[in-house]
Symmetry: C2
Subunit: 345 residues, 2 copies
DNA sequence: AGGTGCAATGTAATCGATTACATAAAAGAC
DNA sequence: GTCTTTTATGTAATCGATTACATTGCACCT
């Protein structure tokens, strides 16, 4: 079922078939009709491999993520993929599993498969590998990486905006002692979020003395453990921000398990706004980072590079916003707070 | 950076390069060493398109799912993908978005990309399209589809086992009136689950009179609405099973909102055991259908067909098991039940 | 009628690998 | 030393498309 068979059936040369399919130039309408009929009758689909080989463009894009079963990523993948399909591209997704050594496998596969561009949405980046891609002039998009180069774009997330809104919200509710559960601090993205939090505190006039911090792991269990840690402080915070929603969900569990309740005894704010956050008990106030937007913008940037619309790398901004739900409330009065503390002993 | 450049650098012909890479036949160890050095020095990766073209095998497998942002799928994708990578295959994932017309796009893309086999893990199947794939002798794997053919395997989920365990568990706790929140009944998979539930009731000696059923949509909002519906019954159930976990999470919310609590006033059992179910409040008792197993078995079946190890289609079983957590408990006594009902008014 | 121009189609090279077949060189047989 | 066998390597066809260039044929002009 190749182009020759179609050519034979339509009684024309393969060149005419190709021209008809690609709507190019001058093909007699009558011939075109014959060709289309032959195509339909034979259920012919042109082989994209052969096309890729001769054109030098595979119309495939790589998308490298950490782990598809981390709820942060599916939506990102989906919107990237949707945008790609709309524009006639295919997407090859690859997981690093958070390990930088698996990253080299991913890159290798991308090169072998001849993708036209790669979106690297993880932090496990090996500059060595990036150079390899760069040398091949493969357009790339990164998430939160500093340097722009020709063919290398960057999506810059404005963590500060949303986090500052969150801190202001808490301060407005009377909270003075605010805790933070970070992500694993060997991760760059976790660092960036933490920095944005500290910055937010400062710009709200809260000194660093008044906050306490525990390291989580961006997963539910880590949030649980970390929150227990915070609750054990003699002078525990009345509000807690977390580095992502899964952590907040774990924290919520620790709060409930300790016989306390959010937002009555302690206010809680997550980060990301994964779908699930609407369905926790209580629904989680969180800082939204739109993965839909992330995916689409990543594709757009790549698309522009791949199609040669921009040769130089671009910087694309993505914002964050506070989403108010029911896990935050007024700071407990000193008396109420003492009572609650007694209860947990 | 093609095979010719490598050949030039290693001062041999392209044939020798190819032979060296493919470990085939007799290549002088010294020559091989020279070749490998050239490959390393040039950072050469063979183009899989060219390879595919000449070999007729792309070493890519298609995986068609409904929607990657439905938490049922990511784990399935992950394990399928992991298994594929391990065996040197690439995976192309495609979403139907629950629409059968998008299915034809998926199939078209699979054919164009020349995949060596397709796993179709959705219910939106168009027999017309399947035939198209069948005609091309493309190995396929389906989920819960009846008919085996040459090159067509089928994964058969034993819903009954887990669901029967669930019903027995409830009956053992003294529940007599058991409700069911189904999935959207135009979906085949929703039907199958419902049928398994009815069957479970029967085999526990409960008549169909003693249960009530509401239709959900396999999403959280549907579970919420459906549970409100069940709670409004004058003679409401003391335990409820749901067609998937998202539905159960919605139901849980409705229960809490109504001022009731699980498992004290009402016991709740989900289906699927998505990761989240461990983290609800209370953690959800649910029937586990292992997506990890599903993904791996789908790959294995496909792999065997693709590699020509089996010509005929196979039937692969996947089981389900009850996972006990804290959303189920003893049926409330009549008095307690009356009191709770009063509270909700 | 003969020449010019353009539209429609065909011929064949090309992309980057694999592989059947050919050939050269080395080893072994006698 | 010649002939056969074996081993290592090279030559060129091939996969299925695209496309530069060549060719055909018809319309139009003078």
């Amino acid at each position: 079922m190749n182009i020759k068979e179609v050519a034979a059936r339509a009684k024309v040369s393969t060149a005419t078939i190709s021209r008809t399919i690609n709507q190019s130039e001058s093909v007699d309408p009558k011939t075109a009709q014959r060709v289309w009929r032959a195509i339909r009758e034979l259920n012919y689909y042109p082989s994209s491999q052969a096309r890729a080989l001769v054109s030098g463009r595979s119309r495939m894009l790589g998308l490298i993520i950490s782990d598809i079963s981390n709820p942060f990523f599916p939506e990102l993948v989906k919107s990237f993929d949707d945008a790609a399909i709309e524009n006639g591209y295919e997407v090859v997704v690859s997981n690093t599993d958070y390990k930088s050594d698996r990253m080299s496998l991913c890159v290798r596969r991308m090169i072998e498969r001849n993708v036209d561009g790669v979106a690297i949405m993880t932090s496990e980046i090996d500059s060595h590998l990036v150079e390899e891609l760069s040398r091949r002039r493969l357009p790339m998009v990164f998430l939160d990486l500093g340097k722009l180069k020709p063919f290398v774009s960057n999506i810059l997330v404005d963590y500060s905006k949303g986090i500052e809104e969150a801190v202001r919200h808490l301060v407005g509710l009377g909270h003075q002692k605010i805790g933070f559960i970070s992500g694993p601090l060997n991760l760059k993205s976790a660092h960036t979020r933490r920095a944005a939090f500290l910055h937010g505190l400062q710009s709200c006039g809260l000194s660093r003395r008044q906050y306490m911090e525990v390291e989580g792991n961006h997963r539910v269990d880590g949030g649980d453990v970390a929150m227990r840690g915070l609750l054990a402080y003699p002078d525990r915070p009345t509000a807690v921000l977390t580095s992502n929603d899964l952590t907040a969900i774990g924290a919520l569990r620790a709060i409930t398990t300790a016989g306390l309740s959010a937002p009555h005894d302690i206010s809680l704010i997550g980060f990301d706004d994964i779908e699930l956050s609407q369905y926790t008990q209580p629904p989680l106030t969180t800082v939204r980072l739109s993965r839909e937007e992330l995916g689409r913008k990543a594709f757009d940037a790549l698309f522009r590079s791949v199609e040669g619309l921009t040769k130089s790398g671009q910087e694309i901004g993505v914002s964050t916003t506070l989403v108010l739900r029911q896990s935050t409330g007024p700071a407990p009065t000193a008396k109420a707070s003492r009572r609650a503390k007694a209860r947990t002993r």
